[in-house]
């Protein structure tokens, strides 16, 4: 019984210790962000690596989700003779929820895991130590550009997911199922609000971008510098980042769209 309490206590202490380290790490990264103005090329390279290289998976997933959404919504709406509202239903589902959330989950799996593995391997192969010994701060040179690149890329990828998803819904609804073209777009224009819907979706995706990239770079930097340690850190990134995104989504949705 006593051992059990000891185990719980020790585990809790380790969790808080790690959370403390993660926050101190975040402060160091934030303090290093201004140095990026002098190394703008690093940021551009990381936006390519983190953002541009994630585009394919985002576009394919967005198209697929949009098409499924169009098909399912049409089948329900047509029973009520409301298929002309397919446009706003698809668009609102995507810009408010599915765009930011699914893009974030894909981003965590594709870019987040890559960031952790890259930084973890740099640590395991002493590249970070080597950099420190050359009087170059790895937080400034390696971590900060990746952190900012993730935050910039995430809302763009979410917007791309939503745009392609709407196209997918249009293709199925209008192209295949015969919903009126004008009604699809006109209803969407009437019902989707730039600030309440689109902007809130963008805010969500920025917050998801901060959370995922923070988890990814911290897990890599804090990884045990062995093959097993890097592998575990990569798994942690995908699991923690995905769960954090889902939890944050509920909180943000309640704050933005709830009547609480």
């Amino acid at each position: 019984m006593f051992n059990w309490f000891q185990y719980i206590g020790r585990s809790a202490l380790l969790v808080f210790q790690r959370l403390g380290r993660a926050h101190l790490f975040l402060f160091r990264v934030l303090a290093a962000v201004p140095s990026l103005f002098a190394h703008f090329g690093l940021l551009v390279a990381e936006i390519y690596s983190v953002g541009v290289l994630s585009m394919l998976i985002i576009v394919v997933a967005g198209l697929s989700v949009g098409m499924v959404l169009g098909l399912q919504m049409y089948n329900t709406l047509v029973d009520f003779g409301a298929e002309s509202t397919l446009g706003p239903v698809v668009a609102l589902s995507l810009v408010r929820e599915l765009g930011p959330v699914i893009a974030a989950l894909l981003f965590a799996g594709r870019a987040g895991s890559a960031l952790t593995a890259e930084i973890g391997l740099m640590k395991a192969t002493e590249q970070l130590s080597g950099m420190e010994m050359m009087a170059v701060d790895p937080i400034k040179r390696i971590i900060a550009p990746r952190f900012v690149a993730g935050i910039i890329s995430m809302p763009m990828l979410a917007a791309m997911f939503s745009a392609v998803g709407i196209w997918g819904g249009y293709f199925v609804g209008v192209g295949l199922l015969g919903v009126d073209d004008g009604a699809f777009w006109a209803q969407m224009q009437a019902k989707v609000d730039l600030f309440d819907d689109v902007l809130n979706g963008v805010i969500k995706s920025i917050i998801f971008g901060v959370a995922i990239t923070w988890v990814a770079v911290f897990e890599g930097y804090d990884a045990v510098p062995t093959t097993e340690g890097v592998s575990r850190a990569t798994t942690h990134t995908v699991v923690y980042a995905s769960l954090i995104v889902l939890a944050l989504d509920f909180i943000l949705t309640a704050l933005m769209f709830g009547e609480m």
Binding site: T125, E126, Q127, S129, G130, E132, M133, M134, A135, V136, D137, R141
Partner: protein
């Protein structure tokens, strides 16, 4: 006997523990300017840790580490980075940046810390690569290098900023005899021609005896022997003799501690 001013690095009363295990228990060491000094000892005795303490990547629990008159553990980050610009380090793995070419690896510290033109950097990098015999490998990526070549590139990068000292972490481990010979020659030549102070950690007795001016032997957190290579070979210490001759049994036992053999078999 050396005077204070002759020592570029001085370690005094150093105590350091990691994960509740004492790595160093009150050790004193001097690293004389212009000399090649080697720290020897079995694997796991903390040789690499000592380099990290000298480089300020770790802080001692007690004692002092002074490099060129500066107390390393007490330096603020900016001062520490200023000191590190005058230090070079060659890691066991080479620690080359895998995403950039050999040329860019060697150019990295120059681009970070100087405002030299690209033309000037090119000339400097090619001179350093020429010194380690790899001028022709400038466009290769680190993944295309053999282990020995990677260490030579790491050496070129370590001396890119013309440091006052250079630290080598296990430079010979896992290398073929020709590469070992090349690295031995480079360490000695670079030390003498650039007027550096070199610190090597290694357990390769023959190799370091051939190129070192002074040797330290550490075991169980203590300095168990020191002297010029010839003096150490004649040491009366059984531990030093076992290590120098590579004897399988002695003060460092062949058997891991275990209960009486009779209890396992009879």
């Amino acid at each position: 006997m050396t005077t204070m001013n002759d020592n570029l690095v001085e370690v005094r009363g150093l105590k350091f523990h990691f994960a509740q295990r004492a790595i160093f228990n009150d050790i004193d060491m001097n690293f004389q300017r212009g000399k090649v000094t080697t720290i020897m000892g079995p694997s796991g005795t903390g040789k690499t840790t000592l380099l990290r303490l000298i480089g300020g990547q770790l802080k001692p629990d007690q004692g002092s580490v002074v490099v060129d008159g500066l107390s390393v553990p007490e330096l603020a980050r900016k001062e520490l980075y200023g000191l590190r610009k005058r230090m070079g380090m060659m890691f066991q793995s080479g620690a080359l940046f895998t995403g950039i070419s050999v040329f860019d690896n060697v150019a990295f510290p120059l681009r970070e810390h100087t405002n030299l033109s690209e033309a000037m950097i090119r000339d400097l990098v090619l001179m350093k690569l020429q010194a380690v015999g790899l001028r022709g490998a400038r466009d290769l990526m680190p993944a295309e290098l053999s282990g020995g070549m990677a260490r030579r590139v790491a050496l070129a990068r370590a001396v890119a900023m013309d440091p006052m000292m250079i630290m080598y972490d296990e430079p010979f481990t896992g290398q073929d005899p020709i590469t070992v010979g090349v690295i031995m020659k480079l360490i000695r030549t670079i030390n003498d021609s650039l007027g550096l102070t070199s610190i090597i950690v290694s357990h390769d007795v023959q190799e370091v005896s051939a190129i070192s001016d002074y040797l330290y032997m550490i075991s169980n957190g203590k300095v168990v022997g020191e002297g010029a290579p010839g003096e150490l070979g004649d040491s009366s210490s059984r531990w030093v003799q076992q290590f120098m001759k590579g004897e399988p049994d002695g003060p460092v036992p062949f058997h891991y501690p275990a209960e009486e053999i009779e209890r396992d078999f009879f």
